[in-house]
């Protein structure tokens, strides 16, 4: 079985990748850091810089935090509220 991670995209990143979410094979992806590396290989995703934030289940996650197909994962461009 090839399970998939679903990653929600917002603002600039949704524009860059041309979709509000992307699905990524979970194979070889154990952590947030693994996921970011995979996403940066996508066409148009070069701008996902080192300042990118990843949220897992509505909380910001460090690069070493685990991810699984059951998690709600989101890729957040630099915040600009307020």
């Amino acid at each position: 079985m090839n399970s998939m991670l679903t990653v929600r995209l917002f603002a600039r990143y949704a524009e860059l990748l041309g979709a509000p979410e992307v699905r990524v094979s979970a194979e070889g992806i154990a952590t947030v850091g693994d996921l970011l590396a995979r996403l940066r290989s996508f066409p148009g995703a070069g701008a996902i810089g080192p300042g990118t934030l990843v949220a897992v289940n509505l909380r910001q996650a460090r690069a070493d935090a685990p991810v699984s197909p059951e998690d709600e994962i989101a890729l957040l461009p630099p915040l600009a509220g307020g």
Binding site: F10, A11, R12, Q60, L79, G81, G82
Partner: protein, 150 residues
Amino acid sequence: MTFLSGSPIELGTLLGEVAAPGRGGIASFVGLVRDHHGGRKVSALSYSAYEPMAEEICGQIVSEAETRWPVRVALRHRLGDLAVGEVAVAVAVGGDHREEAFAACRYVIEEVKRRVPIWKRETYVDGTEEWVDPANSGVGIGEWGMGDVR
């Protein structure tokens, strides 16, 4: 939605939420849409959010302030299309002492800017549009994530 609002924000509503006969003062802050940014003339802007997470983080920030100081906090952030001069964000803090009300008000607005997943797309008078990146405006988000991480 509790903290996010698709319609105009009235500070008076927030004042009413935090006023009480025992509270001597209300410190508040409203952030307005400016007509300029980074040397360019802004004609309008649009806020979008990762809504469930933004609601969650706003709730955390309000709880943190109400735990740290003996105050009551109201917070609202606008989403959608805004004209110049409209209220983007509003915070009202009622307390018995003004020092505490001011301190909590400052805390909430700083944390909202630092931690809540909201994005701003500006439209300039020349017709161009751009996602705003505070890091490019000299504001910096370098320290984001030192606090509330998984």
